[in-house]
Amino acid sequence: MNAPVTPEMAVNVGGIAMRNPVTVASGTFGYGVEYAEWIDVRRLGAITVKGIRLEAWPGNPLPRHVEVPGGMINAIGLQGPGVAGFIGQYMPRLREFGVPVIVNIWGTSLDEYAEVAARLSDVPGVSALEINVSCPNVKAGGASFGTDPAALASVVAAVRRRTKLPVIPKLAPNVPAMGPFARAAVEAGADALSLTNTIPAMAIDIETRRPVLANRIGGLSGAAIHHVALKHVYDAAQAVKVPIIAMGGIFGAREAIAFLIAGATAVAVGTANFIDPTTPLRVIDGIRDYLIRHRMASVSELTGSLQT
């Protein structure tokens, strides 16, 4: 039984045909164009762009980040050009790359989510919508849409009704168990799931006794969260059948492969882009090498292959 020299790397994530299972995490890769000066972005399985809401949004005051052991905390605050700005400024260039584009969207009300989804629905080159539910639900007093299964379901359903694109809710990690969230999202119409987002965290400057971040609270990302995300991905894969895009602390092929083994169909490189922009390409190569070394014909053999 000879394994093929070049294993099959293509995957289909809820309708997105990716040439390999590696994308980038929203907010860590700008709008695709910035890193195009540094790496061959055409090699990516997909490009996931920074979160977009209906209108342009200024984000938070500075400082917006702080380095911490094993990662960083960010409170960029979802600065962005709004739907129209995004389509006008970035989609022409993004289309040229010939890579599926996943647009990360958010809002502070169900209506806003739905409206953003509708406006992106027929834009050529947009392949899927990733729904960021880790942002404040203004109507519900600022609680996040992502930490209550019913609220999550309502956002997914609202978006689902207004688009034919694949809908990929991106789940928050600060929950007791991922199962109920994964099921709620899928029942509401999710084609795939992304997980996870950053973990809410805080840093204090002990000399000034002030929060380091102007926003006080931010999201922890990087190596520190990898093993927490891995558990969530595993739990989600046990709970639902839709494909999962896994992220959290991928710094090389090792973490990506662990996510695939735990049940992910694709992976996204986040914080590591800042440290080594070639990380997504190294991950692609590393997964391929692993498949060859383990005589696997296709990356799909890896997905969910955990022996327990």
Partner: protein
């Protein structure tokens, strides 16, 4: 743009806790312009540590140098770097200073490690000018010989009076602007307070001031939006510029200073 594995050619301590690091990095040194910076991955920090930005101090014959000060855990670790070790660099990054057309007289204003890019600038400007240099004390005055070697007069100010005029470098600037006949054009790099003062003075005088901002950075290439600065747009509005990509150099009139908090 290149991500280089650069070899450490020389690494020597200077006065006042500053250090000079010379790297072999032809792909970056070649295209580098004054005011641009490199984003450096510090060997010995954990592999998940963020890069650190440093202004380019010299770039010639395939070599690239930076001048830095030990201020935190990254620069502490950098200070232990052995010659011969490889360092990952991204660059050249940022817009850099404009090289002007020679119709104005360049006045460079630098504080601390802020003089590093000004040396590079002085070496490339089409016309000689003057460098006004400030620091807490004599040990913080760097690169005086570099400017002298380029034939640039150096005026110094120290807060403790240990060298040059006692006080801030902006006092030198005041005096200079009052006494000069030439149309001055200012180029400044240093602490935030100094940049504000230089900018305010330039606006009052009606000359241009190119200020290199020192915002904390993550990606260094315009993707993460960690380093934004509110700037005026030509249309009378404002926008959020990225210091790493749209800067680090801005003309004083562009910058919307936030209230000192």
């Amino acid at each position: 743009m290149p991500i280089c594995d650069a070899i450490t050619l020389k690494h020597v301590p200077l006065t006042g806790g500053y250090r000079l690091l010379r790297l072999q990095a032809p792909a970056i040194a070649g295209p580098a312009r004054p005011g641009q910076f490199v984003h450096l991955r510090i060997p010995g920090l954990e592999p998940t540590a963020l890069r650190r930005p440093f202004s380019i101090y010299r770039a010639e014959a395939g070599e690239l140098s930076i001048l830095y000060k030990r201020v935190g855990r990254g620069t502490e670790m950098l200070a232990t770097l052995q010659e011969g070790t490889t360092v990952s660099l991204m660059g050249p990054l940022g817009n850099g200073f404009p090289l002007t057309d020679g119709t104005t007289k360049p006045v460079l204003i630098g504080g601390g490690y802020g003089v590093a890019p000004l040396v590079f600038l002085a070496s490339r400007l089409p016309r000689k000018g003057v460098i006004l240099m400030g620091g807490r004390s004599a040990g913080d005055l760097l690169c005086i010989e570099d400017f002298e070697a380029l034939g640039w007069p150096v005026e110094t100010a120290t807060e403790d009076g240990s060298r040059g005029t006692r006080g801030y470098v902006t006092a030198l600037l005041e005096r200079h602007l009052e006494s000069t006949d030439a149309a001055p054009e200012l180029f400044a790099c240093g602490p935030d307070g100094m940049l504000r003062a230089v900018g305010a003075r330039a606006i009052a005088t009606g000359c241009r001031a190119w200020l290199s901002l020192d915002h904390h950075m993550v990606c260094g290439i315009g993707a993460c939006l960690a380093c934004i600065q509110k700037v005026h747009t030509p249309g009378g509005g404002t926008r959020l510029a990225r210091v790493c990509k749209d800067g680090p150099v801005f003309e004083a009139r562009e910058i919307v200073w936030k209230e000192p908090s």
